[in-house]
Homo-oligomer: 147 residues x 4
């Protein structure tokens, strides 16, 4: 991943209960860390994340997740979660993220996730709204690919 393209990061401290029997952060918890990154990103960019989705016409669901585990994260470590929206297509968009240990800048893991905009009732794909496109472009500039 091209690190220079990332403008957003947030910090997480590894918690006791996130460690598995191997003494490292369990592989599924990386997904949760990246989600913290994405939610914080959206809030910071100005896009309201609203849990009352049932009242809305549309919803956004995760369609795909890729994670590469580069080195184990350990109890008590402080992690920087870097997040960006790399691409917006017709009805979907992609986040990229990577996690570094804060002090050593050791690479922990990398994530690409794809999200689809759906009609809340019919589950049919919808065009990613203009407002969302503008917000992301406003923040990412030319780093976000919009074919």
């Amino acid at each position: 991943m091209e690190r220079t393209k990332f403008k957003h990061h947030t910090q997480i401290r590894v918690r006791n209960y996130e460690i598995d029997w191997q003494g490292i952060v369990h592989n599924a918890n990386h997904l949760l860390y990246f989600e913290v990154g994405r939610v914080t990103y959206l809030c910071d960019v100005g896009i309201k994340v609203d849990i009352n989705t049932i009242q809305h016409d549309s919803k956004v669901v995760v369609a795909r997740n890729e994670i590469d585990y580069r080195s184990p994260a350990r109890f008590g470590e402080v992690l920087e979660v870097y997040t960006r929206i790399s691409c917006i297509r017709e009805t979907s968009f992609a986040f990229e993220g990577f996690i570094e240990e804060s002090a050593s800048r050791r690479l922990i893991s990398e994530n690409v996730s794809v999200h689809v905009w759906l009609d809340h009732r019919t589950d049919r794909p919808l065009r990613v709204p203009e407002e969302f496109r503008k917000w992301v472009q406003g923040f990412e500039g030319s780093n976000v690919s919009i074919p």
Copy 2:
């Protein structure tokens, strides 16, 4: 994924606390379901999963996870988790898995994960042991690719 190649499946019932605010199984829980599939597979094939890894010379870690979410899983649904080892390389091997809703056979999600064998102390890659290769070949036959 070629469904006919899967010889192993195990059953899971979606639990209350695995549902998120969207009313569906949270995306990270799919990883946990696939892990249940893998651990059950290893036990059923005869490979002991031992949590006292600290006493061993080697350990196995997850290097990569890919998940495609095909349709949401909902509270109370019974899921079939299909699992196979598709490939064994020099120092790593790959699992494939998919999840179906039991009654309707609706496809829920698909997973490919890559696992690496490491020296417990030095974290250097080790050759996947002969014993493991034989067990898997005994179960998978020609379905497992061993280049």
Copy 3:
């Protein structure tokens, strides 16, 4: 707890990711196991657990939890979760539960939880509905205390 009063139990197999760095089921996961017991109890007694609470007039929330840990649960163990409703008061009711390892009948943990019926909008306590009282009495008979 008076074991002879329990008419309902359900089975759980300890999963890999529920084990913490001490090699035992993490203390918070016992709460999740007891919840599986309660939800299964309600379903089996005929009380529909509906996640679409937002469409209802009332909701049920957890007001208190007590857990006594008697012995550690370990990876791969099969657990029996025993559940009963021990008491229905004006606006609340109490569940009792205990967990046993299936083969040895070793006591793992015990739980008492208190649940309150609330108006969905105002969060004011509501009288536990007659229908619920009847269902529980029908199943528990004289074992449920209704002062």
Copy 4:
């Protein structure tokens, strides 16, 4: 709980995936928050929390948990977790904790947990070590009860 007796607090932000289908923090997650409080407390007081327990002669396990839920915590809220050791007995000690929403100081929940010192191999109770008693007394002063 006597709030003036608490000298330690730490901050948590409610994460997306900690919210359940009712739109509030799931009841089991409160236990995790209190654990974050306890682990941070121990670190800040100078007591090393070491996950390599297998190499030690003794271990500390949770014997009991009580949680009173006072008001729901919601997505994005910042929580203050207050923690203190209220009592040290011969072979056990007790933590007290409470959680407040940071801005409004709304009480979220309260916790009492009891922890027992055990011999790592025999699981027999051990006397709480002098060093631990001194550390806690040094931090808590006369607020900690040592009968």
